[in-house]
Symmetry: C2
Subunit: 409 residues, 2 copies
């Protein structure tokens, strides 16, 4: 029961020159479902990524970091679903390396030119034999117009594939950006989300791309939460093939940088919000906007306290304007010198709390009206500065409990 999440159409997903995608049904966890994705890029492609800060980071995340650091130039990405290869120790690392070795051999490149990703159940051994056996099928299907199937191949508890495209013009050249993401639970990305990929045919120097991926992640995947659980496998990767013919963006002061940055960020926000819209059991999308803070950090702290409160989330599920729960969360968010008499709260256009107490003009039926919408903005003004931050989240429903109580069965 995703919130205003239209099924992406293959025709809307624009191929990115140089990027090919293929998939396999390798039977990693269940038979007859797409569970392996291979994405290849041409020589000279710049690749940058951000990864989970969970200390129990998965084996493939460790291998990704090593291979990016090796600097040999990335040529392919391989993703499996059904198993996260996390909490798997040395055998997990070996399985991830074996996957890279096998794919590298078939592509005629070095193992360090492969980035591996896994998503699924934690603490179970990766069935690497089945994964490797599926690679030839995926390679046989490589094509530029397979973005929709690629989005399908990385789904776990997602109810539908997540993908979108943007087109911009840089120096007279048409530049395409297409991205895919997945995730519906264990979502409170800290650095990036599990998993997001955006490819573009813009030409971007590696260090600039690294800045750009960080900026885009902070304004998209790093600003969403479903259940507050930071995954072991969060990864967001940006690939720039340079095949659009547009000029190389070699610094952040390049005239084209801001245009590309904003397009990537916009696309990343759409992909990130798709994850929230498809949050496990979600019936509502809430935008939590905190303003008038002393710093972005404290605005985010307050926004996450509200976004994680099970009491707030269940009240939204019930369309019940039990809005004192929001004030309670603001109060325990950890801003120790908060003057609550300066706090104001709006639900969309309805002014609920004024100067720390109930707005005398607030009428329950106005709150009720907004609460019944599928998309709601909670705006909190702290009255202590100029900073602001926005976090997107969803409500907490019976369905969330059902999904997570049954996930492995």
């Amino acid at each position: 029961m995703a919130v205003n999440l239209p099924l992406p159409q293959a025709a809307d997903l624009k191929p990115v020159r140089g990027v090919q995608l293929g998939w396999a049904e390798a039977g990693i966890r269940k038979a007859d479902r797409k569970d392996v994705l291979v994405l290849t890029v041409p020589e000279g492609t710049a690749v940058a990524g951000v990864f989970t800060r969970n200390r129990f980071c998965a084996a493939p995340v460790q291998v990704c970091r090593e291979h990016l650091a090796a600097g040999k130039g990335i040529r392919a990405i391989v993703v499996n679903t059904g198993n996260a290869n996390a909490g798997t120790g040395e055998p997990g690392l070996a399985a991830s390396r074996a996957t890279c070795d096998a794919l590298a051999g078939q592509l005629g490149v070095a193992p360090q030119q492969i980035l591996p990703f896994s998503t699924g159940v934690i603490l179970e051994p990766l069935p690497v034999d089945r994964l490797v056996a599926g690679l030839p099928q995926a390679l046989g299907r490589l094509a530029e117009d397979h973005w929709l199937q690629a989005a399908e191949a990385i789904m776990t508890t997602d109810t539908q594939p997540k993908a979108a495209s943007r087109t911009i013009t840089l120096g007279g050249k048409t530049v395409t950006l297409t991205g895919i993401s997945k995730g519906a639970g264990m979502i409170r990305p800290n650095m990036a989300t599990m998993l997001g990929f955006i490819a573009t045919d813009a030409a971007v120097a590696q260090p600039v791309l690294q800045q750009l991926v960080k900026y885009a992640a902070d304004h998209s995947f790093n600003s969403i939460t479903i259940d507050g659980d930071t995954s072991t496998n969060d990864s967001f990767v940006l690939l720039a093939t340079g095949q659009s013919g547009a000029a190389l963006i070699d610094s952040e002061s390049h005239a084209d940088y801001a245009v590309l940055r904003d397009a990537v960020t916009d696309l990343a926000q759409e992909l990130a919000q798709m994850i929230v819209r498809d949050g496990e059991g979600a019936t509502k999308l809430m935008t939590i906007r905190v303003e008038q803070g002393q710093s972005v950090a404290e605005c985010r702290q307050v926004a996450y306290a509200v976004a994680h409160s099970p009491l707030v989330k269940t009240a939204f599920y019930a369309s019940d304007p039990n809005l004192g729960r929001i004030l309670a969360a603001v109060g325990y968010a950890g801003v120790d010198d908060l003057d609550v008499d300066r706090v104001n709260l709006w639900l969309d256009d309805v002014w609920v709390a004024k100067d720390g107490g109930r707005n005398p003009d607030y009428r329950e039926e106005d709150g009720q009206r907004v609460m019944q919408q599928a998309e709601i903005t909670v705006r909190i003004a702290l009255g202590r500065g100029q900073a602001q931050a926005t976090v997107w989240t969803c409500d907490f429903s019976h369905e969330y409990v059902s999904i997570n109580a049954d996930y492995r069965s």
Copy 2:
């Protein structure tokens, strides 16, 4: 569906010399239910309390702090349910003061000798007229053997009253301690819980009692969580009438101090665990014990990360040993230099994760066996020090969502 929570019997709740309790059905929110409690103590009673750290602390909490600071000697406590009198601004403060004025007038004491408490819905005006009108009924029922009715009078979403007693001997004198508590949701006390009261006829000097209440709170109410939501009204109050005839405990080095402290703490733990056992929708009680940390603070941080994870809580609800979710929570708990290769995890006696990965000897059926119990200990060894901490929590069920989606209706 409380977890191993026997209904307290009136005969098991021992009167505390000098403490009288009466209740009223004042119709604060609903008709014909106990919703006001008055508890009186004799002159010379020492009273100490700890209160919520939520910045949006309720009006009665502010008044309690003022009245304790006034130092005139507390003579009565008045509690209403059905309305938290929080987020109510100046009118809320005035309502709380009016309650104290009315009760003080009827008891012939000063308003500063009354401590007021409220619990219920936030952001709605307190119906102070109905509360005041109910006071004579409560005073008419004052008696020493009304502890069970007192526990009933402070319930909100609690499924049953919470009360217990202890008896100790100090210098040959029998000393009694009896306490009551309430709470089932918005429970992650930070300082104390909403609401706990313990009375004793021990004689304790005021500054010593303040130390004692802090110690007991930290080891009981401040170590439980249901949903991570710190209430606006959390309060834990300890009253010592001195009428047992036991010697005055005038310092922490007094021979009787440790005996009384341990008895209070033990009773407070039982009352706090009753709250978790009666957690909204709870079907399981989990004891999260984190060992081998560098500090108690980091052990608590890890324990709370596990205890708050909706994914962990729903897995326990399902009796599903999806134990990678626990490792993921340990990993994102914020211990930045955690060496995951030194982390070990047990479920009761079952060794699940060894040196950061799945224990090769772990068998799914062993995990499954423990997960089916109603009470489970999760033991996490961090492998980096000598500190430890314990937190008690419950699982996350369909019933939790139902209760909180329907609470106001």
